[in-house]
């Protein structure tokens, strides 16, 4: 079994594991998204006092009830107005929207366009399984042309909606695409999106084996994941757009060099810089409705590099501990410093 990082052990404190098993079908991809989100929340030290989850109707919408965060389970398609208003009233909160493709792009499509236009400082995690799963498998806005569903028995005659194009129509929004097979990539882009100051959208391809996959020829969820592994490739650095089977992050035009990067190093201090140059109050006076406060903990690139080095150092020290002790540290029963001392390692090495 591979070594687990502290974050991977600690993420469960973000989940109401007492409510498990979840309502999701065996083989569903939503749990994977939830786990990666929980790991990111843990890594970023976001908790119930500073983070709110807003979910829509559909299988994905139920995620809010399994996360140990305050959450609003909105009407079908209305996640974004609710999320934007929460962020406006309480800029200090991180607002994370989790919704399916139908909720986000079909019934909530108009809200998506306009929330992007207003650059609301919220993060959208879109579970894109290309189907209306909860109602049994009808054609959704992202269902590929030709796919047979309960509501398109001879194949979907329409082309799927271009989410990338919609999000990229904004000068400020961040667009990322990943799949539930590429766990580390998915985690990195979720983190990038949550840290992004402004609207961010993570388009997550995931499998719905029960109400889509089987009908289109997959025998199991594993086959669908294998398909993702074989077909999806990381976009090259500097990519200006993602092809159909490419995963990666696309930053607004001011950050062309960062496109395709997924290492978590790309901060975005550009808004703060622009605001500082424009002088205080200018932006607020011009557009009072847009939350412009820098609420999310925005770290500079140096700060992020320092944090990363620190966590790597911690991990390296952790590796030298007995696995049982390591588990106690991860659970928070023992501080790392005490554990190191007990193991005869000088805690000063942490500072070195």
């Amino acid at each position: 079994m591979p070594e687990l990082t502290m974050a991977e052990l600690g993420y469960k404190k973000h989940l109401k594991v007492e409510l498990f098993p979840t309502i999701w079908c065996p083989g569903c991809g939503i749990g994977t998204i939830m786990m990666q989100l929980a790991i990111v929340l843990d890594e970023m030290a976001l908790d119930e006092t500073n983070t709110v989850i807003v979910t829509g109707i559909g299988c994905t919408g139920r995620m809010g009830s399994y996360l140990k965060h305050e959450s609003v389970y909105t009407l079908h398609g209305r996640t974004l107005p609710v999320a934007e208003a929460i962020k406006t009233v309480r800029p200090e909160l991180n607002v994370i929207v989790v919704a399916g493709d139908g909720d986000t792009a079909s019934i909530g499509g108009n809200h998506l366009i306009h929330t992007i236009r207003r650059n609301a400082n919220v993060t959208v995690l879109c579970n894109n399984n290309e189907i209306y799963g909860l109602t049994g498998g009808q054609t959704g806005p992202t269902t590929p042309t030709g796919t047979k569903t309960l509501s398109s028995p001879i194949g979907n005659p329409n082309t799927p909606i271009n989410l990338q194009g919609i999000v990229r129509s904004s000068e400020h929004a961040l667009y990322a695409k990943s799949t539930v097979y590429h766990l580390q990539h998915l985690r990195n882009v979720i983190r990038e999106a949550v840290e992004w100051d402004g609207f961010s959208f993570v388009d997550i391809t995931s499998q719905c084996i029960e109400n889509n996959g089987r009908r289109i020829g997959f025998a199991s969820a594993n086959e669908m994941l294998t398909f993702y592994r074989k077909t999806y490739k990381r976009a090259g650095k500097g990519a200006q757009a993602l092809a159909q089977y490419e995963i990666g992050v696309l930053y607004p035009a001011e950050h062309p060099s960062r496109n395709g990067q997924t290492d978590g190093a790309a901060g975005n201090s550009h808004r703060a810089e622009a605001q500082a140059q424009a002088g205080p109050g200018t932006e607020a006076a011009a557009i009072p409705s847009v939350p412009t406060e820098k609420a999310k903990p925005q770290a500079s690139d140096e700060e992020k590099a320092r944090r990363r080095a620190e966590s790597q150092k911690k991990l390296a020290l952790m590796q030298r501990l007995d696995p049982a002790v390591k588990m106690r540290v991860a659970k928070g029963e023992l501080t790392l410093v005490d554990a190191l001392r007990e193991a005869g390692i000088d805690p000063a090495e942490l500072e070195a």
Binding site: N50, E70, V72, R78, S289
Partner: protein
Amino acid sequence: MRKLVQGNEAVFRGAVAAGASYYAGYPISPSTEILNIASAYAAAHHQTFRFLQAEDEIASANAVIGASLAGAKAFTATSGPGFSLMQEAIGYAQKVGVASVFADVQRVGPATGMPTMPGQGDIMQVRFGSSGDYTPIAFYPNGVEEAFRVTVDAFNAAEESRSPVVLLSDTFVAHLNEVVDLDELTADLRVVPREMPPLARHVAGFPRFFAGVLMYESGPSAGEPATADADEYLRQYYDAKHRHLEIAGHYRLFEHGWNREGEVLIVCYGIVSRVAAPLAADYALFRPIRIHPVLDDELRDVAQRYREIVVIEANDGQYADMVELVLRREVKRVPLLGGRISIEAIRDGLDRVLAGGPAEPPIPDAPNERRAPSPLGIG
């Protein structure tokens, strides 16, 4: 300071006086002034008041819900067609218990109808517009000063009942200009503070899950769906219903006046009660200000003293139906349709129904020659 204030402006000033700090809206006649004033106010008071011009009324209503859950006293204003778009969100706010205020400045419908003409056609939409059962609270002032006071009442009732309270108005009340002293009115206001902890200020370790779907809210199953448990539905439904009725009981707002010696009681509300004022010499008046829940005890008490009851309203008998249900006796109706709210129309209708005639007025044949298009605003 005494000065000329418009009805719509009084609604906004009342909201601010009641502690409102968030407005979301979409332009629609005849409520648009509230949106305009809110945007100007937000620009000048950015730290204390937030404004969103949403992409549609669906977004406005849901933004109000989000803002309220986040801790702001939030409201929106619209008119009939927009109010229809908000109905699903109002049902959500009823289910979840979101304190909020929805102002509906009525015009002639259905659909786009006669956008600049006054109507009162949303009385039943307020009561039954969203799906399922709920007990809405709604007020309807008939003047500028009252619009201010009743807006404050609406916000207070919303906080106390934890529900979306509807503030009704109409084209004429909205655009009425009267001289009032709002500063004096603001001086000793009762303002109910927010009790429910806002999002992320909950009891540590017990995050809440605000859901439109029926969930167990406490006890061993807290957080689990209760979508097939009728008992849980009954608990939550009656808890809300009793709370709304109890709070509504603190706002038994109505006017009983004019010539109380008369034999005929006229029931009317909103702008119709202002237009009907010249009837004061011959008729008694009952004017409900709290439209929902209907003022049953008050209506029964007043109505028993009169031989005839005539409900005059700018719709085809929506409130009259409720009066008839409450009183269990026949009431006569004078519907003022198509925006024709005039003393002449009222007198004609009264004479007709009191003489035993039908509620429906005589309708002239369509003219043969081409008519000039109606001027915008006056028709």
